[in-house]
Symmetry: C2
C-alpha cells in the first residue's frame, strides 16, 4: 500500500520473484474498505508507506469488526508481517513510529544470490487488483503471469515506446499494476520517474529534468496540464506521448495540451483487461481531425485492439452474433484473449458470468465501423431505454461539452411514465459563467437530430466522482429518480 | 517452393489459417535433396513457382528412387496436388507448360467468408523448416504457433521496427520463415517489398522507390552493397537498418555500408531458434567502436538475447554450470525458452539430445563478458584442441581478415602428431593481390599473442561454401587431413 514510490515499483518484481502474489492497494481506501480487502486477501506481508502505516495497523488490530461478520467474511485475525516504506525524497519524507521493520533495512538482510522462483504454471497469478468499484463493491481481479507478460509486450508495441523510453508515473501503480507499464518498462530497460504527488508543476519539472517521453493515466491529468498557470509550464525537450483512458477530454483541452507539446493517445480498458485493451493512435485521431470529420463522433471511437489481445467485437449479447459494421447498430463490446484476467479471485461464479459465451462481457455498448474501429456508446446500465431503442448518454454529453459555457456534463436516464426513460442532464459550468436550463436545452435542440435525445431537465453543480475520478452516474440516477419529476 | 514472391508471403498465412502446416522449401535444392525432403514431408499440396515446377513434377513422378530405399525412407508414391505460381512481375515472368492449377485462379475459386482454422493447441506446428545442412543432412525443424508468435513479437521489439516499417525481402522466406519477419511485418501492418532476385542495383532501386526502412539476411548482402559500382548506388531516403546474421563482415565493408546510409545490427541464431536469438544493437557496436576498443574482439560479440527468449547462457556442457563472466573461459552457448523449435520433425531422439539438460545446445563455443554479453568463439567441431585448451578459429580468422590483401579466410584444425591439432589457414586474396604463406604467417606472428594460434600452413584459393554462403569448414578439414602434412 503505497503511492508511486520506487519501492512499489521494485515490489512488482520482488514479490513474484519470491513466488508470491502481489496486490498493490489503493492508498485512498478508507478503514472500512481496507478491512474488507485485507480480510479478502489475508496477506502474509504488507509493505506499507509510512503515511498509511497507522491505518493498516489499525485495521489489522481490529479484532471485532461487526461488518465482516455480517458479510460472512473470514474474520479470523490477520497476522501479516508489516514492513514500513520510508519515502526519502527531499520534498516528501515519510516516517512512522510503529515498531516494524523498515523496507531498505529489510532488503539489506537479503541473500544477494537469491534464485528467483519461477511460477509452476504460467497461468498462476502474479497479482490481484481491485476494480474501482464504480459498479458496486470493488472486485478482486487475478492476473496470470502469462497475461501480464503478453499485455506488457502488447503495450510496448501499440504505443511504439522505442528503445529508451523515460516514463513519468502519473498513473497509479495500484491501478492494473500501472496498466502493466511496471513490467513493460523493465522489458524495455527504460527509465521510471516516480512521483508521489501529482501537479502540473511536478509534471512539467519532471519532464524537463528527466527528458520524459511517455506518461499515462486519467483524463484529469490533461485538464491539470491544460489549465496550469503559465508559470508552471515549461517547454518540453521533445514530444511527450500521453496515453489517456476514461471519459475523453474536450477538444479544447486536447488542443491546448497539443499546443504544449503532448501527443495524446486514447485508450479504453478496465481492470479485467489489465488496463487499456483498445486504443486509437494519435495519428489516426489527428488525421480524422484534419479531414474535418465530426469531432463528436470521433471522440469516443476507440480504434483497434492491442496486438496481443485475440479479439474485440461488438455483439448481440443474446445471440452472440457480431453487429453489422454500419456505425449504427448497438451491441455489447466483448473481448477475448490471453491478456485478460485469469478470473475474479475466489469467485468462480462471477468469473463464469463475466466470460459467458467465451467472451469477456465489458457491459459497454458500442457500434462497429467499416474501418474496423469500435466506437463506445455507453455503459449498458447508463444508456437510456426508449422502447426497443437505446440512446447513448455519451452522445448527448458530447454535445453538452461543446457548449462554450459547459466545463463538465453527465446525462442519466430519468424514469418517465410516458416514454419509459428520458435524458436528464447534470452540468458543471466553467468558472464565472452562468446559464439556465432553457439555454442548455435550446442548444441541444439545435445540435441533436433526435428529439428523444434532448434532455428534459438540466441540473447545475458539481458532479460526484469516485476515487479514480469517474463520474458516479449511479448516484445521479438514484437522486434524480428519488426526486421524481420535480426537476427545475 | 518459391523465391521471395508475394504468393509465398501470402501462404505464410493461408496455410496455417487452413489448419495445415507450411514448409517453405529452398529453391536451390537439387533433385536428390528435394526427393529426400518431399518423402520426409509427404505434402498434400505443393505450391511451386513455375521456374521450379518441372523439377518438382519430376521428383513426384520418379516412382523408383533407389536412394530412398537404401535410406529406409517411406518410398510410397507422393500424390500431392500441384499448384503453379506464375510470377507476373515485369522483369521476371514465369510460366510453365504443366497441366496443373494456377495459384491466382485457384484463389479466385475460394470462399470469401472462409473462417480461419485456429490451432487446437498453441504448441501445434505452424511450419517445418530445414537447416542449411552445414552439419550434415538438412534437419526438419518444427515451429509451434506459440514460438512463431512470440518470436515475431520479440523481433519487433528488439529491432525497434517502429509503426510503419517498409521491409525489403533480402532474406529468403524459406529460411526460418524469413527469420519470422513474415509474421512480424503483418503484426505491424508494415509494407513488404518482395524481390525475386537480388543485386545491389535492385536493392538500391527498391529502397529509393518504396522508402525501405529495414532489410536483413546474410553478410554477403553487405559485400554486394559495399562493392557495387557507383552507378548502381542511390542516395537512401532515410537510414536503412540492416540485420545481418552469419560470419560478420570486415570492418572495411561495415564502414562502407555505413557511409552509404545503412545501420547494421548483428544477429546470431540458427534454424532451431527461429532465426536470430542473440543480437547486438547498432548503437552498442558504434559506441564500442568510437571508444577505440579492439574491433577484432568486438566483431563476434553478440550481445543480449531477444526479450521473448527466456535465457541464453554459456555453460560447461558436462556440469551445466555457467562459465564465469570473465571473457576468457570457454563454454557451450545454450538457449532456453518458448521461442525455440518444438523439435525435430519425426525425430524425438534428436530432439531430446538437442535439449539435453533442459537447454538447447547450440554446439557453439562462447565466453561471457561482465556486461552480460555473450561472445561467440567458434563452432565446437571447428575449434582447435590443444591438450585441455581450445583455440577459436574465428579469432585467427579475424586477424587474417585484417590483412590488407585478404578478402576471405577460414581456419581449420589440422591433425598433428606432436601438438594434437594445429591451425591451418585457407585464404582468398583480394582481386589483383598476391601473397605467400611466409607473408601471412609473419603477419599472424605479429598480431597473435599465443604461438599456438599461428597457422602452421596457409592455402590460397576459393573457399567452398554451401547453399547459404557458409564456408564449409568440414570440407576444408577433410581435405587438409587427407593430404596429411604436405601443405605448401
Amino acid at each position: 500500500m503505497a503511492p508511486n514510490v520506487p519501492a512499489l515499483y521494485e515490489l512488482h518484481f520482488a514479490v513474484p520473484m519470491a513466488g508470491a502474489t502481489l496486490s498493490a492497494l489503493n492508498v485512498s481506501l478508507d478503514e472500512h474498505a481496507l478491512t474488507i480487502i485485507l480480510h479478502r486477501l489475508r496477506p502474509k506481508i504488507i509493505f506499507v508507506d509510512s503515511e498509511f502505516a497507522h491505518l493498516v495497523s489499525k485495521v489489522i488490530d481490529n479484532k471485532n469488526n461487526t461488518h465482516l461478520q455480517e458479510n460472512h467474511y473470514d474474520h479470523k485475525p490477520l497476522l501479516p508481517l508489516l514492513v514500513a516504506i520510508h519515502d526519502v525524497s527531499p520534498d516528501h519524507r515519510t516516517q512512522c513510529d510503529l515498531e516494524v521493520p523498515e523496507y531498505e533495512q529489510t532488503l539489506a538482510t537479503g541473500e544477494s544470490d537469491f534464485q528467483a522462483v519461477s511460477p509452476a504454471d504460467e497461468c498462476d497469478p502474479i497479482s490481484v487488483n481491485f476494480t474501482s468499484g464504480s459498479t458496486g463493491t470493488p472486485k478482486a481481479v487475478a492476473y496470470s503471469h502469462r497475461a501480464a507478460y503478453l499485455n506488457s509486450l502488447g503495450l510496448i508495441l501499440r504505443y511504439d515506446m522505442g528503445k529508451s523510453p523515460v516514463f513519468l508515473w502519473t498513473v497509479d501503480m495500484f491501478r492494473c499494476n500501472g496498466w502493466c507499464f511496471t513490467w513493460a518498462m523493465a522489458a524495455l530497460g527504460g527509465i521510471n520517474v516516480c512521483i508521489r504527488n501529482m501537479s502540473a508543476k511536478i509534471i512539467f519539472d519532471s519532464i524537463q529534468l528527466h527528458k520524459v517521453t511517455h506518461l499515462c493515466g486519467k483524463p484529469n491529468i490533461l485538464n491539470m496540464i491544460a489549465e496550469s498557470p503559465p508559470v508552471d509550464q515549461k517547454p518540453l525537450p521533445s514530444v511527450v506521448v500521453g496515453i489517456i483512458a476514461g471519459t475523453f477530454p474536450t477538444t479544447r483541452v486536447l488542443e491546448r495540451v497539443q499546443e504544449l507539446g503532448f501527443n495524446i493517445v486514447q485508450g479504453y480498458g478496465m481492470t479485467e483487461a489489465l488496463g487499456p485493451a483498445l486504443i486509437r493512435p494519435w495519428r489516426s485521431w489527428q488525421h480524422h481531425h484534419e479531414d474535418n470529420h465530426d469531432d463528436h463522433n470521433l471522440k469516443y471511437r476507440e480504434g483497434l485492439h492491442n496486438i496481443t489481445l485475440e479479439a474485440a467485437d461488438v455483439k448481440d449479447p443474446t445471440t452472440m452474433q457480431s453487429v453489422p459494421s454500419d456505425g449504427e447498430t448497438f451491441g455489447e463490446v466483448m473481448l477475448r484473449g490471453n491478456t485478460l484476467m485469469a478470473g475474479y479471485f475466489g469467485n468462480p461464479e462471477a468469473t463464469r458470468e463475466a466470460f459467458s459465451g467465451g467472451w469477456f462481457r465489458t457491459g459497454d455498448i458500442g457500434v462497429r465501423h467499416v474501418d474496423g474501429c469500435i466506437e463506445m456508446k455507453d455503459r449498458a446500465r447508463d444508456a437510456i431505454v426508449l422502447g426497443k431503442e437505446l440512446i447513448s448518454t455519451l452522445d448527448i454529453e458530447a454535445v453538452l461539452l461543446s457548449h462554450p459555457k459547459v466545463a463538465e456534463a453527465a446525462v442519466v436516464a430519468q424514469n418517465d411514465v410516458v416514454a419509459g426513460q428520458v435524458p436528464c442532464a447534470f452540468v458543471k459550468l466553467k468558472k464565472g459563467k452562468c446559464s439556465n436550463s432553457g439555454e442548455i436545452i435550446k442548444f441541444c435542440e439545435e445540435q441533436l437530430q433526435k428529439t428523444a435525445m434532448i434532455p428534459k431537465s438540466v441540473w447545475f453543480g458539481d458532479l460526484p466522482t469516485n476515487s479514480t475520478g469517474k463520474v458516479q452516474k449511479s448516484v445521479l440516477r438514484e437522486s434524480v429518480n428519488a426526486i421524481g419529476k420535480h426537476c427545475p
